[in-house]
Amino acid sequence: MVDVAIVDYGMGNLRSVHQAVRKVAPDATVCVTDDAKIIADAKRVVFPGQGAMRDCMREMDARGLRQAVIDAAHNKPFLGICIGLQMLFEHSSEGDIPGLGVLPGGVVRFASGLTDEQGGKLKVPHMGWNRVHHAQHVLWNGIEQDARFYFVHSYYVQPSDVALVQATSDYPKPFVCAVAKDNLFAVQFHPEKSAAAGLQLLRNFVNWNPV
């Protein structure tokens, strides 16, 4: 049984996530896997995602991982990252497709033509380091309020239950960038690429024992 299984469904690069988890949990067994059995047996699961959500859903299903991911999201410490956050919701306007439906709500695109307070153009994708305004949760332990994390995305989640929201960021209006429910935590930014703050969040995750 592995300590941390990182779900690999062939979309994008998981080496960064793997390296970062190993960095914060040097004694843990960490594996990148597309094996539903290993995911089912793992103590913790990290669910990353890059690229288009439609492709992510298709590739996950092609590997027969849907049920293993849904089960893990309900019964063990589970961390969704980027598209891995978005896939947990019911629906995405990116390609007008259903998600896994683990969490209530949808995924929408940033509007075009956004500007900042000085009238500067805000680009999409939202790419770079933005401030994260976080709530109280053990996964934020040791992370300053308004710490910056690295984002790269064009879509963001809109949970229909505000109680799920664990953090927001501003572009230029507030958008949800972290959610939690019981044993599940999921973030829009990339903790594996967010220097010290990101490593701290991953450290908190590998030490997390939700009741």
């Binding site: 080496r15 770079g128 380091w129 790269v152």
Partner: protein, 252 residues
């Protein structure tokens, strides 16, 4: 709000970071892994590695460098140089790159950008454009390290790359590169105003005010520089403080 990014650029050949003017008189700046760690410690927002290795025998070296950096540095890493096919993109991502920069091959085969973006996502595809001014307000795309004219208009080309799936444009002024007189601000402004995707300004930084100008006047989303950091003139932290003092949002 989102911070403007400062990206140190490491030109790598034969396992060393070098810097010269137009690829002549290359000056050794040190070991790439050590330099990458130093910039990370100084608060660099990302790192860009350009493999300028001439010999195909040495092409494996960049993979080992990226693997070592990715084990120790947890910020985004972009790698460019010699990317010709989707398999090259895959190999660099597997080595630990987060983004891959495509330059000459995007001109030779624009479909490469579309294929790579659809396979790995736009977020990891940077199209690098080397631009030379041909008339006031007009710039032409050059390839092969700035040696070969393409006849392509920079702004039209950048828009086409955005349409094909580029996630970001790395825009280098060949006129300014290595001159230490600052970015081509008119070029930067023209391209960033024409695009929805982020633009990284490159080429010509000689002091910290040039970085601030690239953001405030050029409208760049990120600024890239090499020699001002390599030879100890300035740290990344000093650059950020200089920009912050002028009201530019940075990650301090």
């Amino acid at each position: 709000m989102l911070a403007k990014r400062i990206i140190p650029c490491l030109d790598v050949t034969a396992g060393r970071v070098v810097k010269g003017v137009s690829f002549v008189e290359l000056r050794d700046a040190g070991d790439p892994v050590e330099i990458a760690k130093r910039y990370d410690d100084q608060g660099a927002d990302e790192l860009t590695f350009l493999d300028i290795t001439a010999s195909s025998d040495d092409r494996g070296i960049i993979f080992r460098i990226i693997e070592q950096v990715a084990e120790q540095v947890f910020i985004p890493l972009t790698v460019g140089g010699g990317v010709r096919e989707v398999q090259d993109v895959r190999n660099l991502l597997n080595a630990g790159a987060d983004k891959v920069s495509i330059n000459t091959s995007a001109v030779v085969n624009p479909q490469l950008v579309a294929d790579a973006a659809s396979r790995y996502g736009s977020q990891c595809i940077v199209v690098a454009i080397d631009a030379k001014q041909t008339a006031p307000g007009k710039w032409e795309v050059f390839t092969h390290g700035g040696r070969k004219a393409t006849g392509l208009d920079v702004i039209e080309w950048a828009k086409k790359m955005q349409t094909l799936g580029a996630g970001e444009i790395l825009l280098t002024s060949m006129d300014q590169d290595g001159q230490k007189r600052g970015f081509d601000l008119a070029l930067t402004r023209s391209v960033t105003d024409a695009l929805e995707i982020p633009v990284i300004a490159s080429g010509g930084v000689g002091n910290l005010q040039h970085l601030a100008d690239g953001v405030k006047q050029g409208g760049a989303d990120a600024v890239l520089a090499a020699s001002i950091f390599h030879f100890g003139e300035y740290t990344v932290q000093q650059a950020k403080q200089h920009m912050a003092a002028q009201g530019i949002e940075v990650r301090l």
